[in-house]
């Protein structure tokens, strides 16, 4: 058990920091500090390309596909320095962290060659088509249908909560390809180009006034017959594998974003005197503890060499960060007081802390609600019996 980094790691950290800070002070200074996922999408696509040009876009991938074969420690360091430098989140997060590893793990050689270079180069932006309007957190309830017709998949149905679909090039879609199948059986995981007549995207306005999420409608949308990953009917397995990648190194970058949010709260509390309130002090201390424990929980998760087993740290991570961040949103508002309830913007648009307060209500919902997470923890982590079948 060892937490410290080696000297080589610390050199690598310096290299990351130098390059990232240089970018944020130079050519890309206009995007520094953007926290909303929807801010400046065009410039951020250019940033993806810039990362790729300097081989920073997917350092954990094999060198063959544009990565650096980076060690765990190096990936941790890069994620931390990335956020520390105030670089905005990756608009191709889904491509780099989810689609890419999924193709690397489950795709054919041909698929790797078709997709990985574009993703690594920041030229192919991916989004994720899992949730459906009447399925919510229930991935097994997918109704979007796919059928093979004249050498193409033809897809009909609707996905929802497709984050950033409006700026993406490709979408991976879980479709029901076996007529009459139910639950996790009969699903296929398809990769589809978005720019086609059969796909329509409508933004969903959220409670913070922003529209990161979309509804995506498929009306005879098409992709070639060999667009599935894994096998036809194996969509569930691929989707579950993909979800495991969500608990990867990117969690540490996400945490650095949390660190920036907490730091902003601390600064606000010092500025307006809330830092003298013993109740606020306890809550800030709890937030600090929670953030540290997420970091060390993530390091435990990533250090666990037995990746085949979902261990405790990994199972509990989602509910832990989502709940922590929701509480952080409330803490931020309590520090700001009424000042947090007004914005200097003309439109219904919010600065970091009030936006955190509003947006974080979604954290405990998307990607599996807290309720679903608890089911998973209890059933997979503790081996408790499943819910009985419903007999109205």
């Amino acid at each position: 058990m060892k937490l410290g980094f080696s000297q080589a790691d610390e050199h690598f950290r310096q290299e990351c920091a130098d390059w990232l800070n240089g970018q944020m002070a130079g050519e890309f200074r206009d995007i520094k500090g953007i926290t909303k996922l929807t801010g400046s999408p065009e410039r951020r696509k250019e940033w993806e390309k810039q990362l790729a040009a300097h081989r920073w876009s997917c350092i954990g991938w094999p060198e063959q596909w544009g990565g650096r074969n980076a060690t765990l420690a190096e990936q941790v360091i890069f994620a931390e320095e990335y956020a520390r430098a105030g670089v905005p989140g990756r608009v191709n997060h889904i491509g780099i962290e989810l689609a890419g590893p999924t193709i690397l793990t489950f795709g054919t050689e041909e698929q790797k060659q078709r997709f990985l270079p574009g993703i690594a180069a920041g030229e192919t932006i991916f989004c994720q088509g899992f949730s459906e309007p009447n399925a919510g957190s229930d991935l097994a309830g997918v109704r979007t249908k796919g059928r093979l017709e004249d050498g193409e998949w033809v897809v009909n149905g609707q996905k929802i909560w497709t984050s950033l679909a409006h700026i993406s090039d490709w979408i991976f879609v879980v479709t029901r390809t076996e007529e009459g199948s139910q639950g996790p059986r009969g699903l296929t995981f398809l990769m589809m180009p978005i720019d086609q007549p059969g796909i329509e995207i409508r933004g969903i306005r959220q409670i913070n006034g922003d529209a990161e999420f979309n509804e995506t409608f498929f009306t005879d949308a098409r992709c070639p017959a060999d667009s599935y990953i894994g096998g036809v009917g194996e969509g569930w397995k691929i989707a579950m594998g993909l979800l495991a990648f969500e608990r990867g190194v990117s969690t540490l970058g996400q945490q650095m974003g949390f660190r920036n949010e907490l730091d902003e709260i601390v600064a606000a509390a010092k500025a307006n005197g809330a830092a003298n309130d013993p109740l606020i002090r306890q809550r800030i201390a709890r937030a600090e503890i929670g953030l540290r424990l997420m970091r060390y929980g993530a390091l435990r998760m990533l250090s666990n060499t037995d990746h085949s087993r979902m261990d405790g740290a990994a199972l509990t991570y989602k509910i832990q960060w989502a709940t922590w961040r929701r509480d952080l949103g409330e803490l931020g508002m309590d520090v700001l007081g009424q000042a947090g309830e007004v914005t200097a913007h003309r439109d219904y648009e919010w600065d970091t802390l009030p936006n955190l307060f509003l947006f974080s209500r979604a954290d405990t919902i998307y990607g599996g609600t807290n309720q679903i997470q608890r089911n998973l923890i209890a059933e997979r982590g503790l081996g408790l019996p499943r819910e009985p079948r419903w007999t109205a």
Binding site: I204, I207, G340, V342, R346
Partner: protein
């Protein structure tokens, strides 16, 4: 001792509930949000058609001569629909302050306009307010419906003054506000002409009591509506092949909401009764009601979002209206911690 509505109170409650259910629709509230946060027609109907605006104002001052229990009934019904009305500033604060603390001339000058809904008033608190030669300098950045008011009741905590919107050196800036059904404004006075309220202590005390009860009741209505709407959804929405309301964890969360709400209900009507009956428990009850009901509303509205899943997070769904209103109630007129510290002081004395 009979802690239940009288027949008359029951009738008022039914009338008010029906009125808001029919008129304070989501569409109308959203139209008001896009505009200035007041559903003008709703306000006029409430004040004039129903004649509810003067419910807790003495008959001698043109009101109905009832009490805070009745005011709470109305505020609860309005809160259940997040109605976009200037009840807080105009009725709970200004009209109460003027009715209880105004001279005969002040009552005559302002009350009929306030009760008819033609005049909207707002309440400005500034502990650092400067008063020189009858002119006020100071203000607040967080005046509910301040941008719509023609009259300001201004206080530094002990004195109280009336300032007309159209007086010189009064500067009002609307603020884009999280709760668009009760937008805040920045109101600044830079040596504004004013008229002192005749009996400020009585006026402020009455306003404080009515506003704490009123906000608490509004919170109660919002909490109850959050629960009912979520329970309705839970019975209808099917996931994993079952109505989600049949999942025990979901049920228990709704049950917990109900446990909180029942306590909030006791708190609101206890406080209203205690004031109306002049009980010595009134100060404690007011702090308890405001802090408890506001937290209940926030928790229930937050749970409404959570328990609706993704749809609850959309602008289109009404959950966020309740959520934002609940948040604003928490910070208006003293946060929960502040009220609880007041109660602690009653019990334990000042902290050393």
């Amino acid at each position: 001792m009979e802690f239940a509505f009288t027949d008359e109170q029951q009738m008022i409650a039914e009338t008010a509930r029906a009125f808001f259910a029919e008129n304070a629709t989501s569409a109308r509230t959203r139209a008001a949000m896009e505009h200035d946060g007041i559903d003008v027609v709703l306000w006029r109907d409430f004040c004039v058609e129903l004649g509810f605006s003067g419910i807790a104002i003495p008959e001698s001052a043109g009101g109905a001569g009832l009490g805070l229990v009745e005011l709470a009934i109305l505020a609860e019904a309005a809160g259940a629909h997040v109605a976009a009305l200037p009840m807080l500033g105009s009725l709970m604060l200004a009209a109460q302050a003027i009715a209880a603390g105004g001279s005969a001339a002040q009552r005559t000058a302002w009350l009929s306009g306030l009760l008819s809904g033609e005049t909207i008033a707002a309440f400005v608190e500034d502990a650092m307010l400067e008063v020189r030669d009858g002119k006020l300098t100071g203000g607040s950045g967080f005046v509910a419906h301040g941008a719509q008011a023609e009259l300001f009741v201004v206080t530094d905590g002990s004195g109280a003054w009336l300032v007309r919107r159209d007086a010189e050196s009064v500067f009002v800036t609307p603020q884009m506000t999280m709760d668009q059904t009760r937008p805040l404004a920045e109101v600044r006075f830079d040596g504004a002409s004013t008229e002192a309220l005749a009996a400020p202590a009585e006026g402020l005390a009455a306003a404080n009591r009515a506003a704490l009860v009123g906000l608490a009741a509004e919170a109660l209505g919002g909490a109850q509506a959050s629960l009912e709407r979520t329970a309705d959804y839970a019975r209808e929405r099917v996931q994993f092949g079952r109505p989600i309301g049949s999942f025990q964890a979901y049920k228990h969360r709704l049950a917990d909401m109900m446990v909180e709400i029942e306590q909030a209900r006791s708190a609101v009507y206890w406080a209203a009764c205690a004031v109306d009956e002049g009980s010595e428990e009134a100060p404690l009850a007011l702090h308890a009601a405001k802090s408890f009901a506001a937290d209940t509303a926030f928790r229930c509205a937050a749970d409404m979002i959570q328990l609706h899943g993704g749809i609850g997070f959309t602008w289109e769904h009404d959950a966020h209206l309740f959520f934002k209103r609940a948040r604003s109630i928490q910070t208006l007129l003293g946060k929960g911690d502040w009220h609880r510290e007041k109660i602690a002081t009653m019990i334990l004395g000042e902290a050393a």
